[in-house]
Symmetry: C2
DNA sequence: AGTTAGCACTCTAACAGCGAGAGTGCTAAA
DNA sequence: TTTAGCACTCTCGCTGTTAGAGTGCTAACT
């Protein structure tokens, strides 16, 4: 639906004013604020119409108007002037991310913190998932006579480790056998190829050594699963507590902590244009229906591999947050790409 | 101060009742609940006296009594019957922790989750800090022609990694030189010995290779700092939102997130008996003065190295939480000890 | 001397009533 | 089509009232 220019101006002004103050906007307030060359009565008429069309809500008769979900949607899709980050700010952020440590998790953690500070929202992100990722390197570091730490690095840069305990003594021969098996059967394989079945057949084929080495292989398989699993990182949850809009922040925070729903949402809902904006009831999950979720996928080596998302009340500054998020996903993607392929 | 037996019974009953219900306890309620062989009038007299002595507070004249800070203190020190975890529960927890992955952070994360579920409190823990920890192993994994991932394992089992970018190409010779330097100058050294000065003199002594190798040495030094730094882990913060006692949970959650204050508190305040209990205003930090903090140090190899702590309102079930925390610290310590020295 | 019944007293929480203020929708005039 | 004006509605904050919970005190009882 296309609104008249004047209606658009009024809607935009209401959205922006409400985002800024959190108070319902009345016709008089709007008049001073928006400097339209009309009287408050005209604005009242237009507002009444916008209400009838479903773009505005009214908490009660004698209150001003607040944007409805549809109002926000129209604003985001057609009215909003994106507000880009100043260039110095961008440089600053870039420096912070470059300094994060270089691993995907570290970069995302830092990006999450930056975004949380910048936006006062909760920030979620998923670690890169790459269907073509393969095991790149496995190290076994003996810690004692029967324990060792195993470290696995995947081609997507994910590093995972576990401590492993063996029944028989961890001597040089055993370690060497392990490394042989690894380089022969695991390096270059994807995690999904490391099945229990493979582990079992391998163990069997080793005969007498089987018993000694199988704990190592089991750990190896665990690690392969871990490197493949997408992880959800969370930053700035406490920001949500500053919004009076959330009477029960607990439910939302528990939802975020659970992780899988969001991970699924992100992987199912590929970025169509650049940034996805889900407002209020547009969200599938009940726990998010009082919130807006803005998310965008970052791409490593030209391929979408994970996402960053912002969560706040529907009353957030879309014009500022969307470009910020977009910038962060771009820079995260480019830093990760740099690290992995040069 | 020693209270009469009857006063103690009444105080204990009030504390327990208030912990259970969160409502001020009146003389009549107490009568049904505690089954003392006296009338409500007598209880009233005793309660008045306990108020005068400072063990009870009264929100207002016509409300019941609630324990004062002193009341909780007396209860914790002398009245409380510790409520041990049932043995099956202990076994279950043990299994969960053994399965966590073996690294200190992984064990602590799991322990934190378990405790958060068990207690409905926020759980904090510090990673083991060991003044005698030394660098055990360093691995350099090339990722591209100019980037590599460096992984460092300390003798206390801490694993840290960073991605490092070099100006000149990462060829085999460079890598070999790096490993030589590492094994000669760094393995077996403590992190504090890895000073900037050392890095600089080393770089200088290498002459022509100096420029190529110095980014690697800088990263090495960064990693050494990281492995040495105590980290604060946080679980179950959202539990705090379930207590009506916290009008501004935001402040507390930000305090927990900041980390250093608690890290300092733990390291400064060594475990005297077995478990420390700081109630309300007994806490040094303003942000904790509406809360109780229970913490206890775990020991790895017979030496205190980190701590686990619970944070909740002063109105928490000390009798149940203290033994739970104590058990968790013991098991965390024993699992970590097992891993590192066998 | 300690305990108890009884009672007057105090304070809160909940509810109703009221007025001020904000903002609307409608009407009639420009 | 716009605007001034006005009656109307609804919230918010204040006040007053009442019911109920709980106390502290006194006087009687064991």
């Amino acid at each position: 639906m296309q609104l008249s220019e004047r209606k658009e101006k009024i809607l935009a002004a209401i959205v922006e004013r409400y985002i800024a103050t959190g108070e319902p906007v009345g016709s008089k307030t709007l008049l001073e604020f928006s400097s339209l060359p009309v009287s408050s009565a005209t604005i009242r008429n237009e507002m009444a119409e916008l209400s009838r069309l479903g773009f505005l809500d009214q908490p009660h008769t004698s209150a001003g108007r607040i944007p409805s979900q549809l109002g926000y949607r129209y604003y985001v899709d057609r009215l909003m002037n994106r507000y880009e980050l100043p260039i110095q700010e961008k440089r600053l952020i870039e420096a912070r991310l470059s300094d994060a440590g270089g691993e995907p998790q570290q970069i995302l953690e830092q990006a999450g913190q930056v975004l949380a500070e910048l936006t006062n929202c909760a920030v979620v992100s998923t670690t890169p998932s790459d269907d073509n990722a393969v095991i790149r390197r496995v190290e076994l570091v003996p810690l004692g006579t029967h324990t060792a730490m195993m470290v696995m690095l995947s081609s997507s840069g994910i590093l995972k480790s576990r401590v492993c305990r063996t029944d028989s003594e961890l001597n040089l021969e055993l370690i060497e056998t392990f490394y042989n098996i690894v380089s022969k059967h695991f390096i270059g394989k994807s995690a999904s190829e490391v099945s229990i079945a493979l582990i079992q057949t391998l163990a069997l084929s080793l005969g007498s050594k089987s018993l000694a080495i199988s704990p190592l292989l089991v750990t190896l398989s665990d690690l392969a699963q871990l490197t493949e699993q997408t992880q959800l990182l969370l930053e700035g949850q406490s920001n949500l507590l500053n919004y009076t809009d959330y009477p029960n922040a607990y439910e939302l925070m528990e939802f975020l902590r659970r992780g899988e729903p969001l991970t699924n949402l992100f992987s199912g809902h590929k970025t169509e244009n650049d940034t996805n904006v889900l407002i209020g009831k547009e969200n599938f999950y009940r726990e998010l229906q009082d919130s807006s979720l803005i998310f965008s996928h970052y791409s490593v080596g030209g391929k979408d591999s994970g996402a960053l998302g912002l969560i706040g009340p529907t009353r957030i500054d879309y014009a500022r947050l969307i470009p910020s998020l977009k910038y962060l996903t771009e820079i995260v993607g480019s830093i990760m790409s740099d690290t992995l392929e040069d």
